[in-house]
Symmetry: C2
Subunit: 352 residues, 2 copies
Amino acid sequence: MTVNGRRATAADVAAAAGVSRSTVSYILNGSDRQSFSPETVARVRAAAAELAYLPHAAARALRKGQSGIVLLVLPDVPGSTNFAKLVAALTDAVRATGRSLVTLTVRPGNRLVDALRDISPQALLEVLPLPEEDSAAALAANVPVVVVTSSIESLDRAAGALQVEHLAALGHRRLGILTVSDAQVHPFSATRLTAATAAVEKLGLAPPRVASVTGPPDARAIGAVATTLRDWTTGEDPVTAVCCFNDLFAAVTVAAARSAGLDVPGDLSIVGMDDEPLAGLLGPTLTTVRYDFTGTGAHIRERLRHALDDGPAAAPISSDAVRVVERESTAPVGGEDAAGPAGRDVSPPRTS
Amino acid sequence: MTVNGRRATAADVAAAAGVSRSTVSYILNGSDRQSFSPETVARVRAAAAELAYLPHAAARALRKGQSGIVLLVLPDVPGSTNFAKLVAALTDAVRATGRSLVTLTVRPGNRLVDALRDISPQALLEVLPLPEEDSAAALAANVPVVVVTSSIESLDRAAGALQVEHLAALGHRRLGILTVSDAQVHPFSATRLTAATAAVEKLGLAPPRVASVTGPPDARAIGAVATTLRDWTTGEDPVTAVCCFNDLFAAVTVAAARSAGLDVPGDLSIVGMDDEPLAGLLGPTLTTVRYDFTGTGAHIRERLRHALDDGPAAAPISSDAVRVVERESTAPVGGEDAAGPAGRDVSPPRTS
DNA sequence: TTGCATCACTCACACGTGTGAGTGACACGT
DNA sequence: ACGTGTCACTCACACGTGTGAGTGATGCAA
């Protein structure tokens, strides 16, 4: 409610209830060091409700010395399922500590240091390394930075390994690994790549072929990948399966395979990552790796409590929150049927 | 820089420069009502830089009565390209008014009214209707709400019409329109649907068949759409082309057509919407409608200036920021070749 | 000298909270 | 009557800014 044009303050509530402003503050914040008669409490509560009183966040932050705002700094990446799922999990995690998570999209012309003049967060969550200038500003403003990337790392490691293990279980012995050179996602791509190569070694497979794609997943990329695939699949000891950085580039690889005259999964199995919604609707439907961020959310919650509320140090995160979604784009090595296994999650029903 | 454990304040800068705190404030804010000697200005600037002084956002907000924060309230929707592009455009638009945009993800257990205890935005941007409780809270907190949906509406209208016009230009006279019943996206789906039906009428086509899909784009949806397609394409005056709510459901429709024994685009042309990154990588690649939100950003900027800075009322938005991306899933009616036109944006190269 | 304007700067208040310290009234035990 | 303790509540400060009003010094015209 607004009282003569301005939003209601604690003083308005106090006046309406016939008590002092301190009384209002004590009652609404429920201090255990003060006591008030039940009828006063009721009167204050009623007045607050009547006026729809909401304490002014800036004033509260100034007085308490902490804002209750956790700022998630995101680069300006195109919408990805995993980021959306991650944001949802982090939102819940921050809420569970009694704070609020808001997201800042950092892009050219909108730097973190600009935003810090308008918002004073209690902590920063960063999922990708901040520009030097920005982390310096965070340091100067005395805002602790919690690096989410390190909490996801174990998931990425597990995911990279899962791709390889899945293909190895299907009998593939010679794999190709397709990574990307985009600097923005380098933390993820590097982790997945090293995990995949480590898994190859651990399983005793042949040394993998590795290639890196530059630029967006478009026609040019398809051409480039097609060239790579022709190279990989000719000669002796050809590659029979490819691990891709994500579902987008897996789709690129499918298209490239087609243009190179390779059947998927007959000649080449392809496994993606992230389980984008469209992955189950491609032809062939895409085998991929799906992330579950609920464990990550819990882990970040503990790390926040440690950093902000003097809680105990967070335990290492478990990495079993990642699993293969088996669809049509992978098949046992040497399998002559072009159909592949029926998709486990999504498959066109054959009902008449 | 932190001075004895706390972040530097204007008082620290003043002490370092040997002036009063007011002088620091006046110099750093560049008031034209006060004048200072050049050497004092230099000394203050140097001290501020030395201490990496950043004014406390909450204190500034409290004093000025406005926070400079614009809060974009987003529902918990899975990552979509259009939302990501929209957020980027809005970020720039808000920055152009000298404020900062942050995004709040509203989901069960994380209501706007909770967040408003931690953050006091100067304005709200809503892209989907807020729950009653939340808009009441915004009203009570005296925070103006700028409805983005209404600025996008003209784009949605143009997009819905474009789907129909594109198919009509290919000679299709009897269309199906596939919308969704998800309440969350109802503002968009409703606008696109009415625009499409209006375009059908305007072009003098046969009355369209309309169906609504419930639930996510999964196997169940494919089955349901397949049934619908069989109905639409049998009997006299069959449907030869379908407009879909977005690319996800267009992909569902492609899969459904395949399971119904229909060739795309030979028997049925399908046009999607949003130009998701994967749309150009499906088989067949998807003809779709692509949004450009730069005009929307400029419009929202003007509306913010009107609402917050006493600027003039914003002019109506132009709606030419939407265009068809022609790929393989649409073809002239009755065309017997299953290949369709070569994708204009993305097509697998046929080089050997 | 006096009056007045300009310059360079400082004083002091207000924004809306949260909270430690204080205060008057009352009850109770001695 | 008097000290002591509890109850119900209020006073007053501090958080860090932005800014209108004020102030002493200097210059300059009369």
